[in-house]
């Protein structure tokens, strides 16, 4: 079960970063909890967390919203999703997640983040397996950014260790 106390650091981070980098206001929409796989929008940034909080964070948005946000960040118009634009979208996800981990750290949860991957392609299924997802849309004048949080506290003693089961069949 994803812990709701991880939610606000991410919502606040999105609001802060979109304001600072893109000059847009973001308003939180209706929360939902999802167990089934996520069906991707045009663009999805995926970043993993390890440490006292572990799991995956995904940011979903349309191509147009991605282009518009990146145009604001880089102060030049982007009309197509070339590699620079893609890099910009992934970097936004990276900055937001980094900022969220600072807030998590202030709340006593240390975590490190992975480099981002960017998935381009609507309609693929992304499953976070036994991590239930909290889904929060953030509405802006440039479109919606949806945050998916599949996070949990690491069990005691596991923050530093890689937990690897001895045998797959017995774990399943």
């Amino acid at each position: 079960m994803t812990n709701v106390k991880f939610l606000n650091p991410f919502v606040d981070a999105v609001v802060d970063v979109l304001k600072a980098e893109c000059g847009v206001e973001a308003r939180r929409g209706q929360l939902s909890l999802q167990k089934l796989a996520l069906t991707t929008d045009d663009l999805t940034v995926l970043i993993s967390l390890v440490g006292q909080v572990q799991g995956v964070v995904l940011y979903g948005l349309s191509t147009q919203t991605g282009l518009d946000l990146v145009s604001r960040v880089m102060e030049q118009p982007f009309h197509e999703l070339d590699s620079l634009a893609q890099s910009g979208v992934a970097e936004l996800g990276n900055v937001i997640t980094g900022r969220a981990t600072v807030k998590l750290s202030q709340a006593g949860y240390e975590a490190n983040i992975s480099p981002p991957t960017l998935i381009v392609g609507k309609g693929t299924q992304v499953s976070t397996l036994d991590f239930t997802r909290i889904v929060v849309p953030l509405e802006t004048e440039l479109g919606t950014l949806v945050i998916h949080l599949a996070l949990r506290e690491s069990p005691p003693g596991q923050a530093r260790e890689n937990f690897v089961p001895v045998n797959i069949a017995t774990k399943a």
Binding site: T40, S48, S114, L118, L129, P155
Partner: protein, 171 residues
């Protein structure tokens, strides 16, 4: 992409596929890719954070995924249901975990993230400024491909002794 990261993954994959699914695998020709990965039917995504960092993908067709899951779980699965998906994701987790032990012994300690499973071919997954080493594996459990988008990182392993403000939690 440092080629010294390659062998720990190849060895780990051979060992795990042998012990978990009874398959003997061999490696086909490597290549380095700068273009984004175009997804196969099933992809497991796992990140590494530490002295070696980046992302690793394990990709395969739906057919291979089902056969592999069936072998690992000792059941005859006809659809790629939650149990099968969990098995494949776990496979990626175990291989990566084993590789991380070998990497650690070589001086590259890293923490691995929980796995994410992606289904749906034709999406592109970009690892941005990390070029990808593509390692095709063949054998009774295959074909399956390991993609390594890794490079040396700073030592970011978390040490609780350095963070006195972190409260202890009772689970």
């Amino acid at each position: 992409m440092n080629v010294k990261f390659l062998n720990p993954f190849v060895e780990a994959a051979f060992e795990v596929l042998q012990s978990e699914a009874g398959c003997t695998m061999t490696r086909a020709e490597l290549r380095l890719e700068k273009e984004p990965y175009v997804s196969d039917d099933v992809t497991v995504i796992i990140s590494l954070i530490g002295r070696v960092e980046g992302n690793v993908f394990y990709s395969m067709s739906a057919d291979t995924a089902l056969r592999l899951a069936s072998r690992m779980l000792g059941e005859n699965l006809d659809e790629f249901d939650m149990l099968a998906q969990s098995g494949i994701a776990e496979l990626g987790n175990v291989i990566t975990g084993k590789a991380s032990v070998k990497l650690s012994q070589a001086g590259f300690a890293a923490t691995i993230s929980p796995p994410t499973l992606m289904q749906g071919q034709g999406a592109t997954i970009s690892t941005l400024d990390y070029p990808r080493l593509v390692v095709p594996l063949k054998g009774d459990c295959g074909p399956l491909v390991i993609h390594l988008a890794l490079r040396e990182g700073a030592d970011r392993t978390f040490n609780p002794a350095h963070n006195p403000v972190a409260p202890t939690h009772i689970q």
